[in-house]
């Protein structure tokens, strides 16, 4: 396997994981700031 693709693939995987963490952290923050009020 070409090591060039491996390097870029690993970098993209890291980017994806970071984006996932940011998205989930933002979701948790919104939930905390604007809690759903049960009706």
């Amino acid at each position: 396997m070409d090591v060039s693709f491996l390097i870029v693939g690993a970098a993209l995987a890291l980017y994806g994981l970071g984006a996932l963490m940011d998205r989930n952290a933002g979701k948790a923050l919104r939930e905390r700031r604007y809690p759903r009020i049960p009706r």
Binding site: S4, I7, V8, D22, N24
Partner: protein
């Protein structure tokens, strides 16, 4: 009767922190009269707050009662996944600010390694073939991606 930390968070962003009395037998939290008066006044113009308290080191959600005190509700925590594998990946599912910053540091470490690798390849290559150009380009792209990701992860809330 125990003293617990009470957090009152309004949707507008205002947060009030106070101490309150917790009666374990009744499973109820009694705020101070001063706090009750403040909540009554703010309640005229504000939407209902989210109230939580730290009891036995656990953050629990409190439900408002008509008499002004609070009853202990569910534990405030994101629902934990059931499977062993999913629990191991919880830091991706519900990361703290510190965990995101640590991930940013890791990304910057990888970015530094990619940068040094690119410099090494640049200096050690005598004949630029397609393979070596591809390797150099991948290291530079890897450096840019991980550096940008690290900067994003370092961003505060």
């Amino acid at each position: 009767m125990e003293i617990v930390e009470l957090f009152v968070e309004y949707p507008s962003g205002m947060t009030i922190t106070d101490r309150a009395s917790y009666l374990r037998d009744a499973d109820q939290v009694y705020p101070s009269e001063r706090l009750e008066a403040i909540l009554r006044d703010i309640g005229i113009t504000e939407a209902p707050p989210a109230v939580s308290a730290v009891i036995d080191g656990v953050n629990v959600r409190l439900d408002s009662r008509i008499d002004g005190c609070f009853s202990v509700g569910e534990t405030v925590a994101l629902s934990s996944p059931e499977s062993w594998f999913a629990r191991r990946l919880l830091f991706f599912y519900a990361p703290t600010k510190d965990q995101r910053q640590q991930f940013g540091r890791f990304c910057h470490t990888i970015a530094a390694a990619a940068f040094l690798g690119a410099v090494g390849v640049w200096h050690s290559t005598q004949f630029w073939t397609v393979e070596s150009v591809k390797l150099e380009a991948s290291l530079i792209v890897g450096f840019v991606i991980t550096f940008v990701r690290g900067m994003h992860s370092f961003r505060g809330e």
